[in-house]
Symmetry: C2
Subunit: 202 residues, 2 copies
């Protein structure tokens, strides 16, 4: 399992600091949607510049205008960009097309998708699928458990309130990528917490 550090609700400077202090223990750096919407794609290029050897995920959450948004994101330095699974399939297919042309990867965020939508999306075998409990579902609706059944032929990421405690359940599911945000970014010692995550997953 790889660890993707999700950087949200931070300034670009804070994001870089946290990524620097934890970089020994993380594999991928996610420039969160809040950074992109607050500062633009310069947030992506700033992180890629400091961490050229890390995989950078631009959580741009595309719903439309796929070519423009994905080109922006990849040209800023993202290696992976996200599209919402609830978007029209024409948008998702355009994202896959742009990723292919750039030699990069799409992550499809399954937030609030129906079972029927999921089935259609699983045809896109080159994508990474993200089983995602959103911040608002966690904080406002009290949702805590990821429920999507993994399809073994696909690559999986899991996101949403993952802590060192909740990680035990994850080990059985064995996602390819664990997306961890505030458990690290809001810790008093982000480095220590990142190290514990890394030790648990081995």
């Amino acid at each position: 399992m790889k660890i993707q550090l999700a950087l949200d609700r931070l300034t670009i400077r804070e994001a870089i600091q946290i990524a620097k202090s934890t970089e020994l223990y993380i594999d991928m750096i996610e420039v969160g949607t809040s950074l992109i919407k607050e500062y633009g794609v310069t947030s992506i290029s700033a992180l890629k510049e400091v961490f050229p050897h890390k995989t950078i995920v631009g959580d741009i959450k595309t719903m439309d205008n796929a070519t423009y948004e994905f080109d922006l994101c990849f040209e800023a330095g993202a290696d992976i960009a996200t599209v919402m699974g609830v978007a029209p399939l024409s948008t998702i297919e355009a994202c896959l097309d742009r990723a292919k042309r750039h030699g990069k990867t799409v992550m499809i965020d399954l937030l609030n998708t129906t079972d029927e939508q999921k089935e259609a999306l699983y045809e896109y075998k080159e994508a990474i699928f993200c089983d995602h409990i959103s911040k608002d579902e966690q904080e406002l609706a009290g949702k805590k458990v990821n429920e999507v059944s993994f399809n073994d032929s696909l690559k999986w990421a899991v996101a949403g309130g993952i802590t060192t405690d909740s990680l035990k359940g994850m080990e059985e599911r064995k996602p390819d990528i664990l997306i961890i945000g505030s458990a690290i970014t809001k810790a008093e010692q982000p480095e220590e917490v990142a190290k514990i995550f890394k030790e648990i997953i081995g």
Copy 2:
């Protein structure tokens, strides 16, 4: 009917220029998702600064993290901000709550919502509902006709490839807001086209 000019795939400077040249004929200025994602919410504050008396719509297309995104958007100067109807209801309700606290308004974008989702959303009578054919649906899937049945007790906006020709059908539907983008922004003479739109709707 009011005219909302949607500014997308432009630099902030170009967006301001087009809004200036057409301001006599438009009622609302939409800072498009592409501007927000490319430049951040500074795109909203830049437009509000030049057009303090126009209604500014921040097309932030929130899917999660509603409080943070809506506060960002309203504090930057938006009078209206958008949330996706396909988002979890906890997100949409948080957007409505933030709008109320700021004395501002939510526009719910119905892109790709199911009939069941629409019915649930129509309970939020303080929102503006946007019947939206996305750019990708228009450009990649050839979709051209807005299909949502208006519920007369709600406020309606219509978006997606509206031209002076397609406007005739709109007059029968009588949405409160016509969202017009590239028909004006890509015209050789944006001012002339905006004037024609204004004359047609009277």
